[in-house]
Assembly symmetry: C2
Homo-oligomer: 180 residues x 2
DNA sequence: GGTTGCATGTAAATGGTTACATGATTGT
DNA sequence: ACAATCATGTAACCATTTACATGCAACC
């Protein structure tokens, strides 16, 4: 699933600029399912327009450079529906955090604790962002995906909180106390 | 976190061949945190050996070509610990499934149901694989990460099962019954 | 005066996947 | 006979990220 298709999906949820689409991947509705940077979004939108799958509407702004609001065409809509039909590629997760955590036994316990606590805070921030998304204007399927993300993040927080102390204690290096 | 570091981690858990490391990413302990293909693992191992971070021990096999079992050196161990210290890159998830699910309202309800059911089955398979990993010889931190993966997958299954019927019903196209 | 947010775009570098090449054994 | 498992490796290709280039407004 390339950035072009991702943009098609973003635009299906409503007209948007490249900048706004980027935010969807960063903070918004898409943050937990895919990501894309400006360097891939802008060229993708240009290609979408070139292929007649979207049109761009220049919008003048006071004190700011113009922005280009993109809108899906009927052809673009069809292209999205077709892309949705093809079997999805397997999920691809890459989490440096999880990898580091797997080697917590090589880290000082205090550091391990800090890392896990930071992660819990990060999950909470994600949960907060996802809860504050306005889903009222979006179809139920978008809400379903949002809810799935929330369920997963909440489970992760719960698990880490339940196991934090034990995990850090387990990793105490086996150094016997030395009498001074 | 590049494949080289990932291999360093794999070898820290025990000597292994490139083939076995690949399996760790496919089926094994690493399957839910990162992935790597042969095309990246073999060159990474070669570089690791070239840099003195690992050594390879050729092992003859009956009726099979030799295999190269890699083993971490002290220097390799240090390199891993150092890599573990650097702040992790943000998680990067790309899930075509989640994207497609977000546009379930554009799909026929029966198809949507099939997709979600297939996903539940996939989660169950992952859970099965992770439960059958032998963790006894691994440090508690590896068990923690395994447990976190399980908690997350189980939450996902639970959520999807709880919402499947409602989700598919919601997406019924607004076509009124037509008397025959 | 520096950072953040808005706003678009390009080019180089990167890193990894995909596909290929090879080959024996075991199971269906 | 065919597929799958074990086993290693290379090279072309690809998509995406990173860094750069530009500029104004608002906030601290």
């Amino acid at each position: 699933m390339d950035v072009k298709t991702l943009c098609l999906g973003a635009l299906q949820l409503g007209d948007a600029t490249g900048y706004e689409i980027k935010k969807m991947f960063e903070d918004g509705l898409f943050s937990h399912l895919h990501q894309a940077s400006f360097g891939s979004i802008y060229p993708a939108l240009a290609r979408l327009e070139h292929e007649g799958l979207a049109i761009s509407i220049p919008v003048a702004q006071e004190g700011r450079p113009d922005k280009k609001v993109y809108r899906l065409t009927a052809k673009g809509h069809e292209a999205l529906v077709e892309a949705l039909q093809s079997p999805p590629m397997p999920d691809r997760q890459r989490s440096d955090f999880l990898f580091i955590l797997a080697f917590g036994h090589l880290l000082p316990p205090t550091r391990l604790r800090t890392i896990i606590e930071a992660r819990i805070a990060w999950y909470r921030a994600c949960i907060g962002r996802m809860e504050s998304c306005d889903l009222s204007r979006h179809p139920p399927s978008v809400r379903l995906v949002n809810g799935l993300g929330l369920a997963v993040y909440r489970a992760a927080v719960e698990y880490l909180e339940m196991n934090l102390d034990a995990a850090v204690a387990d990793e105490q290096p086996a150094q016997p106390f030395v009498a001074e």
